[in-house]
């Protein structure tokens, strides 16, 4: 795959871009890893409520050095703090929030996303790997909107946006939007629609780096 003259977004820039689409008052679960970065880019004038599977709502930034509490961690087992107006609850209620459609947006990482919104992010199917799933499948089926944040291709240049998954599925038809280092994609009934691209890249360049057929939003009515 050849880079011509376009700029690839950094991980922070993808996070910053995704943060812009999270509205005031949203209840949001940020998946472990890359999506966690979004928290840093949420504007101060919005109340965005961060949920963590292990029983936190409206948690805040990491504590100051020396203030860490081993009993105040998020699902990624990182130390966090609580905002005024936050709450603790048990795992049953926490997953009721997710499975019951109360979380407005979750942002997940991905191994692959298919054109129909199928998501693979829990297993590569490798024979010797120990399987582990955590809350990924619950978030995939339960959140009102599922956003994916990922590099557009793997480190070896293979497409992560594909026509059909080759990895085991986490959730079927669940992804609504994809933020990559190259573009923003909406998953629609008519397939993947490109709504934004990084400066300098052409639609043809982007299509070449993608394993599924893309549509340019400017051509969709």
């Amino acid at each position: 795959m050849s880079h011509t003259s376009y700029t690839v977004l950094t991980r922070d820039q993808i996070a910053e871009r995704a943060a812009q689409d999270i509205p005031d008052g949203a209840y949001v679960n940020l998946g472990i890893g890359l999506p966690t970065k979004i928290a840093q880019y949420l504007p101060d004038d919005k109340d965005v409520f961060l949920h963590s599977e292990n029983g936190l709502l409206a948690f805040g930034p990491p504590p100051a050095k020396g203030e860490e509490d081993p009993e105040l961690i998020n699902a990624g087992k990182e130390y966090v703090t609580m905002l005024d107006g936050g709450s603790f609850f048990h795992h049953g209620d926490s997953f009721a929030m997710m499975r019951g459609g109360h979380i407005d947006i979750c942002v997940l990482g991905a191994f692959q996303v298919a054109a129909n919104g199928d998501l693979a992010n829990w297993s590569t199917g490798a024979e010797d790997a120990i399987p582990a799933v955590g809350g990924a499948m619950d978030l995939a089926v339960g959140a009102k909107k599922v956003f994916v944040m990922t590099n557009h291709t793997t480190k070896t240049g293979d497409p992560k946006i594909v026509s059909e998954l080759t990895y085991p599925v986490t959730g079927k038809n669940c992804v609504d939007r994809i933020y990559t280092d190259l573009c923003v994609l909406n998953v629609t009934d008519k397939g993947l629609v490109v709504t934004e691209m990084v400066d300098g890249i052409s639609f043809e360049d982007l299509q070449a780096l993608t394993g599924a057929t893309l549509t340019d939003a400017t051509t969709v009515k």
Binding site: G85, S87, M97, G100
Partner: protein, 240 residues
């Protein structure tokens, strides 16, 4: 910034339309959101489906709502009480539909809705008239009835204190169905006796996290009312 406590009863309730399915908290009158029900009566919507444990007591609250003829159907566990004459009359006149549900199945079906489950196998009611025609299954030596979630467009509940993010705590046995109804409705409207600042409710002891509550309406206690749970129907804009 989110302030779920910035509207008065009239404005909040105006989003309820004819034909709505509405959960109303309370066990008897304890926890019954009397002022929200009065507001619903004033709104004048009709063809409602109401979910409550009972079918109204005396001539106030839920009973008064029934009397207006606004309710097409009620889903409840115990409609027959010494003071349920309003419902009795409507029922005998064929003017209201009743879906009778064992109290624990009512609770569980409301919980199933809040939890996003498709259905549950419950042992309650197996072999009884209330399970007639329902799917059953023998699991691990015991018989169960398949029951489906009860969802609602709105839940009207009563809590004791709330904040602008919708966090709630309750008072004694007035809690009853409030927390589970809040989880099962598209829009939950809670009347509270007091609105408090963010952070005043201890995060360890928030009973209903704000995610389940869309509106908080403070009901001002008046000195003319004798009992501590009786307040005037005047809604005030909450400060938060």
């Amino acid at each position: 910034m989110i302030n779920k406590a910035d509207k008065n009863i009239t404005d909040v309730l105006s989003q309820i339309k004819d034909g709505a399915t509405i959960m109303i908290g309370g066990f008897g009158t304890a926890g019954q959101p009397a002022e929200l029900i009065d507001g619903l009566i004033n709104l004048g919507v009709k063809d409602l489906v109401i979910i409550n444990n009972n079918a109204g007591n005396g001539d106030h609250g839920l009973a008064k709502l029934l009397k207006t003829g606004a309710v097409r159907k009620i889903i409840c566990s115990f409609p027959r009480q010494s003071d349920s004459w309003v419902f009795d009359e409507l029922y005998h006149a064929g003017k209201i539909e009743l879906e009778l549900v064992p109290q624990g199945n009512l609770a569980c079906r409301i919980q199933a809705a809040g939890m996003g489950l498709g259905a549950v196998y419950t042992p309650t009611g197996f072999g009884t008239l209330l399970a007639e025609g329902k799917e059953t299954r023998h699991i691990d030596g015991k018989d169960y009835v398949l029951e489906y979630p009860i969802k609602a467009d709105f839940a009207l509940i009563k809590a004791s204190r709330g904040d602008r993010w919708g966090n709630l705590v309750y008072r004694k046995s007035a809690r009853n169905f409030g927390p589970i109804m809040a989880m099962a409705a598209e829009v939950t409207i809670a009347q509270v006796s007091e609105t408090v600042d963010l952070g005043e409710l201890d995060p360890e002891y928030v009973i209903t996290p704000g995610i389940f509550v869309q509106h908080v309406v403070q009901i001002q206690p008046t000195s003319t009312e004798p009992a501590s749970d009786e307040y005037a129907s005047t809604a005030t804009t909450a400060t938060a």
